[in-house]
Symmetry: C2
Subunit: 228 residues, 2 copies
């Protein structure tokens, strides 16, 4: 990837215009424009669509801990949906900081920063259909409503309190109503540095924050539903 990437968009209007121009294309067609063939196995296609879109829309290359579109502060997220528009998967947000004991503030959190402004790109994914047939829907430029941010914040504070106490091991994907914590690693053997309840540096599985499908489903529904 990162071959012949587009220049960064200068403002949200330009980004949205570019994005809307891609609606309706399949990943096969989009890849063809850049001379790239989608992986044939779905397992090997994880992330491929998202990175292809980044190139096509001019996201800054490999920006670390920066929004995908740094200049204008927008994060790009593809969202696999079924033909009815219902999200099929949870959405990864960012890694969970397991090594810092100090109880952090929502205002300073990566979750809040990442979700402050998002360009959602639905990707219509039919069960059993090949990767190249996945089809881009209509993109949506979004910021959390007050109610949405409250829910995110409540979950985040509850989860991070456990993390700050060195009790991250107790957290499962069942915690959190809209935001959850799940493994985020190459495999279950991966380890990163964490702080345990006694303040010692220990090895623990890396984790990530994810948005539940109920949250992204509601978000899409508010914009695309008849009368929404």
């Amino acid at each position: 990837m990162r071959r012949n990437a587009e220049p960064p968009p200068r403002d949200e209007a330009e980004l949205l215009a570019r994005a809307e121009a891609l609606a309706g294309l399949t990943l096969g067609e989009l890849g063809g424009r850049r001379g790239l063939a989608p992986p044939t196995s779905p397992r090997r296609a994880k992330g491929w669509g998202g990175q292809l879109l980044e190139d096509c829309l001019g996201a800054s290359a490999g920006s670390l801990s920066e929004p995908d579109f740094q200049l204008i502060g927008v994060e790009l997220k593809t969202l696999p949906v079924d033909p009815a528009g219902k999200p099929l998967e949870s959405t990864y947000v960012c890694t969970v900081p397991l090594a810092h004991l100090a109880s952090p503030l929502w205002e300073d959190s990566n979750v809040r920063r990442k979700l402050a402004r998002v360009l959602w790109f639905p990707l219509v994914t039919s069960r059993g259909a090949p990767v190249h047939a996945r089809q881009l829907g209509t993109p949506l430029l979004w910021s959390p409503s007050a109610a949405q941010e409250s829910r995110l914040r409540a979950d985040w504070e509850e989860l991070m309190e456990l993390v700050s106490l060195g009790r991250a091991e107790e957290i499962t994907a069942r915690h959190g109503t809209v935001l959850q914590i799940r493994p985020k690693a190459a495999d279950s053997h991966a380890r990163t540095w964490a702080t345990d309840a006694e303040g010692r540096r220990v090895r623990a599985p890396p984790r990530g924050f994810y948005l539940r499908t109920t949250f992204t489903a509601a978000l899409l529904a508010r914009h695309y539903a008849p009368g929404g």
Copy 2:
């Protein structure tokens, strides 16, 4: 590399025996034993000989900040020499910690740890000869004499005092009588984190500690010279 590496030696005697059995071989012959052909361009061969030898002698794979032979606490260093046995290059020891302000102690330094016990392997390198013709000399298991350690320590303390003051930028390869600091990076654009004179985190070129050739020449001479 790391293909079919040998098991680690159990003690210094076993390591030295294995090493001595390789004396006289060329890199071409040694690589042939493992089915590996030396790079044809000298530029692309940097480090190749050293890593090949690690495999042949059973060094622990990719051990980070650990001696090459962890079990027995020995570091392996190849040393390019001319046909008369005189070192052709300085010897890289370890990276310079640029980010920590606290003035460190020689006793805790990586330089001291790395050089506490070294298996030196001369590699006879004739000017203009191809990589495969470089020939292993007689290995030497070494620890610093009291006088050698005093010199290393004096240089290290002088250099690290400047580093601790955030004045690493003032250091050139001209400092130090036996130990020097030089760039250690993919290229001159590389940057790592450092602390400046005002205590701010800044970007700076990565540096390494190197032994001057005068030091390694004297070290070899003491063992191999007639009457040494």
